[in-house]
């Protein structure tokens, strides 16, 4: 209690001496970096989950070929969940004589429960979100449908026995399904109109679905109830069925960002250690005095610990606020990347994490030095040179290393990755420290050739060698991370400009009948479109690998719902596209024509664990076709050209019934001319990827910006190190400056010396950083982004000049008062 009172009473005054401020800043930045990323990843993860369920149009979806009992909807309503139902069937829609096979979806109020419906007033026009569902007597046909039958908005369409007014053109609905193939254009109507159409007759193929949505816990419990009560033949789908890959990607990106924020945390930890050392140093006298006045060892330690605890709390609050603001800003910049318009709320977890981080950093980096305070002998009040016994090495570095390892473990719990990251970090610091030591030594050698101010500045670097090294490593790391991101961002941008030229295909055409193929392509050319390759598309199912039934094998079961049992699109071609690269085996020659050979995309080959030479058996329209794996291809899917997982050699599948697909580029003005095309080739499905492309182009820039701003924390962290370092040498500097000026040096000379010291330090750090960034960029661009690395000069210039300027400016600002002070006040004290 007495300790608390003294701790709090002195805290306010201690604040003025500065190092508590640095400590607080460093801790807050560390917490901010960590929580900022935590908030960000948490919310993006939640947003992605929302996006994923929008594919279902609901949180859970129950579907059946038989009408669903009303008890499900009643149960949902009873539990406070929202619900809606859909009835889906295939039927022909007429406009006078013109007709089109259509996927008709009759919906009830509330549809869709997740995601949104986009409509427009003309076919193929940009869509806008719409509230509600079609009014009774109205329908929303898709662009393709309306164009194919030559209808207009405001006109009539007949479906079965009834006639409807076209109120809007349907541009997209959330549950339209992800696959290109076998899609008939769709139409949404109000469920109350369904009986009037008399479409549902005994034996018609209808899918009935009930959609449910609500808050997480209620949905979870309802889902359990549904599983227990649903009848055979009723199928339940939830978020786990909707794109698990996306979740994986978010997890991985989150981990990457967390590791990146670890750099900031480590830099801040260094600043904390420096500030703590100075704190201890300045308090040796006070603690010796307290002991002389009768304070016990425990009491003196308690005072210091309490002050740090108060600081940790404050830092956690400040840091979390900082992190929150940063992530809020980040989210706003990247909002376009998320499909959901509203952002999920923040959770409190990152704040708790922030406080624990602050405590951990203090424990590892400040506590060991603090224990020194408990060990100051009281005699120090009479003999200033008596200090505490030096810390044992284990105690000095052990906790710090343990805390760092703990933080890494917390971020990457897989053992292999943990070992890699830890070893990498250790090696990195070691290399940087050695290179730094060499640089400092070289700079020391050169100092004879420069003026007195520079000589004094550079001599200072060499004299405070240990501190200079720590600062070099800290600034070097900070600058390096920033340069690295800059390089990679520039690389990516120029690469994407190369692979995403403005005339990239923006429309896909699927289901082109073989007999219309030539006419269709000619028609496209007539519209001024640029077409890409035309590939056949044949439906088939993989049924056996090396003679063993896929259903029977273990990997077949694991991959349920995945590649193996799904119906596949197959193609055959003689030529390997420029966007395909053979990574194993060889592509076929004309001599291979007619041989049963198949080439697989690496994703397909890896997920089924297939080898070159494996024999795959496909069921194609009821016939078995066996082929041997001849090659594995790496496919650049973002070329937006037709590409297939499974490609046969020519001369094998020619007999099979199939259609063709191609993609084409339409310039902005010509898209509307697709309406007559749809009428002329009614069976061809049209996919507009213009919007998707625009999004993809924006994604990279925004993502890079987001990542880069996370790294701004690194810069901030580097700055706290600078502050801490300047502060820890401040008393010494004050004395030196006074001495120099007493010896006749002008204030300008002393100031120049200080500037020279920091500029040299910054330039050296920049040099190290540029070297590190070049190595990092080389590795990352080649291994991770699979691009060619081009040497660039600007990171070196930016690193060295920027480092010198930044550090000199920071150092100058921080030491200005020291230099300004008249010598007498210092020497007399």
């Amino acid at each position: 209690m007495r300790a608390v009172r003294l701790a709090l009473r002195t805290l306010a005054r201690e604040w003025r001496s500065g190092e508590l401020g640095v400590l607080l800043l460093a801790l807050a930045v560390a917490v901010g970096a960590l929580t900022g990323v935590g908030f960000l990843v948490g919310r993006i993860g939640a947003a992605v989950a929302l996006q994923a369920v929008s594919v279902l149009g609901a949180d859970i979806r129950l579907s059946s070929p038989q009408p669903l009992g009303a008890e499900y909807l009643d149960a949902a309503a009873h539990r406070g969940l929202r619900s809606s139902s859909t009835t889906t069937l295939l039927s022909v829609v007429f406009n006078g004589e013109a007709s089109q096979l259509t996927d008709i979806e009759a919906v009830t109020a509330g549809y869709p429960l997740r995601g949104r419906v986009l409509v427009a007033d003309a076919p193929f026009a940009p869509g806008v979100p719409v509230q509600g569902i079609p009014a009774p007597g109205e329908v929303w046909p898709a662009s393709k449908l309306l164009a194919a039958v030559g209808g207009t908005v405001g006109g009539q369409l007949s479906i079965g026995a009834a006639s409807f007014r076209v109120a809007h053109v349907l541009i997209s609905r959330p549950d339209q399904g992800g696959t290109f193939a076998e899609l008939s254009p769709s139409l949404i109507m109000n469920a109350v109109d369904l009986p009037a159409t008399r479409l549902i007759q005994p034996g018609s193929r209808v899918t009935y679905a009930a959609l449910f949505a609500g808050d997480r816990t209620r949905i979870d419990s309802f889902e359990g109830w549904l599983r227990a009560h649903k009848r055979a033949g009723e199928r339940l789908r939830d978020i786990s069925d909707a794109t698990p890959q996306v979740r994986n990607a978010v997890d991985r990106a989150g981990r990457f960002l967390s590791l990146a924020s670890l750099v900031s945390v480590l830099l801040c930890a260094i600043a904390v250690a420096m500030a703590a050392r100075r704190y201890v140093h300045r308090h040796l006298d006070t603690v010796a005095l307290l002991k002389t006045l009768g304070a016990t060892r425990g009491f003196t330690l308690a005072v210091a610990l309490l002050q740090l605890l108060a600081l940790a709390l404050l830092a956690a609050l400040l840091g979390s606020a900082l992190g929150f603001v940063a992530q809020e800003w980040l989210l706003r910049t990247i909002r376009g990347l998320l499909a959901t318009p509203e952002l999920p709320p923040v959770t409190a977890t990152p704040i708790a994490v922030g406080f624990l981080t602050a405590l951990a950093v203090l424990t590892g980096f400040a506590l060991p030095a603090l224990t020194q305070l408990g060990r100051v002998p009281a005699v120090r009040v009479l003999r200033r040179d008596v200090g505490p016994p030096p810390l044992r090495t284990l105690l000095a570095f052990g906790p710090a290393i343990a805390v760092v390892l703990l933080l890494i473990w917390w971020m990457v719990p897989e053992r292999r990755l943990f070992l890699w990251v830890s070893a990498g970090l250790a090696a990195f610091v070691a290399v940087l420290a050695i290179a730094g030591a060499v640089l400092v030594a070289v700079a020391g050698r050169l100092r004879g050739r420069v003026g007195v101010a520079w000589r004094y500045g550079v001599a200072n670097l060499a004299r405070r060698r240990a501190e200079s090294l720590v600062q070099l490593v800290a600034f070097g790391t900070g600058i390096m991370v920033l340069l690295l991101l800059g390089i990679i961002r520039a690389d990516l941008n120029s690469d994407w400009r190369r692979t995403l030229p403005p005339d990239l295909p923006n429309y896909f055409f699927i289901n082109i009948p073989p007999d219309q193929r030539a006419g269709f392509i000619a028609y496209l050319h007539g519209l001024g479109a640029r077409t890409t390759r035309v590939l056949p598309m044949i439906r088939g199912r993989l049924i056996a690998i090396n003679g063993v039934s896929v259903e029977a094998t273990q990997r077949g079961r694991e991959e349920r719902g995945g590649f193996a049992t799904r119906e596949q699109n197959l193609t055959w071609t003689a030529e390997l596209g420029a966007d395909n690269r053979i990574v194993a085996g060889r592509w076929w020659t004309p001599a291979d024509s007619g041989k049963p050979l198949v080439s697989l995309a690496s994703e397909f080959q890896e997920s089924l664990g297939l080898q070159l030479g494996d024999r795959l058996t496909f069921d194609i329209a009821g016939e078995s076709v066996e082929a041997t794996v001849a090659s594995v291809r790496k496919v650049k899917w973002d070329s937006f050209q037709p590409n297939f997982f499974i490609v046969f050699a020519p001369g094998v599948l020619e007999g099979a019934a199939g259609t063709y697909l191609t993609s084409a580029y339409f310039s902005a003005g010509t898209a509307r001319s697709l309406a007559p095309l749809a009428r002329r080739f009614p069976s061809v499905s049209i996919f507009d990827i213009d919007e998707l492309l625009a999004e993809v182009r924006g994604v990279l820039d925004k993502a890079a910006l987001a990542v880069q701003s996370v790294f701004m924390f690194t810069l901030l962290a580097g700055f706290t190190v600078l502050l801490a370092a300047v502060q820890s040498s401040r008393d010494e500097r004050r004395y030196e400056s006074a001495m120099l000026r007493t010896l006749g040096a002008s204030r300008g000379t002393v100031a120049q010396g200080v500037l020279a010291e920091f500029a040299t330090l910054g330039a050296l750090a920049g040099l190290l950083a540029a070297a590190g960034a070049a190595v990092g960029a080389f590795y990352l661009t080649r291994e991770w982004l699979e691009l060619r690395y081009a040497f660039e000069l600007w990171p070196w210039l930016a690193g060295i000049c920027g480092g010198a300027l930044l550090v000199a400016a920071g150092g100058w600002l921080a030491t200005r008062s020291v230099v300004r002070q008249p010598p007498l006040t210092t020497l007399r004290a």
Binding site: R2, R5, L6, R9, T10, A12, R13, E14, D285, T286, L289, L290, K291, T292, L293, G294, A295, T296, R297, G298, F299, P377, A378, V379, V381, L382, R383
Partner: protein, 235 residues
């Protein structure tokens, strides 16, 4: 000068000793081997007595003071402070004893810069668990003539004022023994004289035993006894 009290305190010394050292030795290891700083010092100081310790710089005066106050442990010999054998106590035990029985004044004041004058004076009382700390501290500050300065921080005070705060802090616990190591060494002579005056005035009122290391002849002359120290021995 308080001439009348001198004989009476001298006679009491025999009956009631508050500080007793027996064959005190302090050795430290140095690059040149074992260094003896205090060699076989025995002394006895009576309650209420005032003793000056004089001698050239480096003679071991401060070290002796540290041993007598239990700030440091002797290599040999023992110290009895107000009846308690210091050698039988650990560091925290000695600290607790100091909190109750010992006051200190130093050459360089040693006020805590983060605390006000009043809070500095309150500190030893609070450490000893005294609930009346604030009132007692304010009273003592008033007695050293700093009533107007209670809310000031050390660096807002002159050297003499700081030392008066330090004296208030030393006396506020009404210690059995007050140790002062060159209390006027950092002050100009006029200020020093006034600080010395105050020291003896408070000492006279409180019947505190005063052990004073000083180069200041005048200050030494006001003590009942003067011990001369040279090369670690009492002359």
């Amino acid at each position: 000068m308080n001439v009348t009290t001198r004989p009476s305190t001298a006679t009491q010394a025999v009956r009631d000793s508050v500080l007793k050292a027996e064959n005190l030795c302090k050795q430290v290891s140095s690059p040149e081997g074992l260094l003896t700083i205090v060699a076989d010092v025995s002394l006895e100081i009576a309650r209420g007595e005032s003793v000056a310790v004089a001698g050239p710089s480096g003679a071991g005066k401060s070290t002796l003071l540290a041993l007598l106050a239990g700030l440091d442990v002797p290599s040999a010999g023992r110290v009895l402070l107000d009846g308690t054998d210091l050698t039988g106590l650990d560091e925290d035990g000695r600290a607790r004893l100091r909190a109750q029985r010992v006051g200190f004044v130093f050459q360089s004041f040693h006020l805590i810069p983060a605390l006000t004058a009043l809070e500095n004076v309150m500190l030893p009382l609070e450490l000893a668990g005294n609930a009346e700390a604030r009132r007692a501290a304010a009273e003592t500050l008033e007695r050293v003539g700093l009533r107007e300065r209670t809310a000031h921080y050390p660096r807002q005070l002159s050297g003499g004022e700081q030392q008066r705060v330090a004296i208030a802090r030393a006396f506020v616990t009404q210690p059995a023994v007050l140790f002062a190591d060159e209390p006027t060494g950092n002050l100009d002579s006029a200020t020093g004289a006034r600080v010395g005056e105050l020291l003896f005035e408070l000492n006279g009122n409180a019947r505190t035993t005063l052990v004073l290391v000083t180069h200041d002849r005048e200050l030494a002359a006001r003590c009942v006894r003067t011990l001369r120290m040279e090369a670690g021995r009492l002359a």
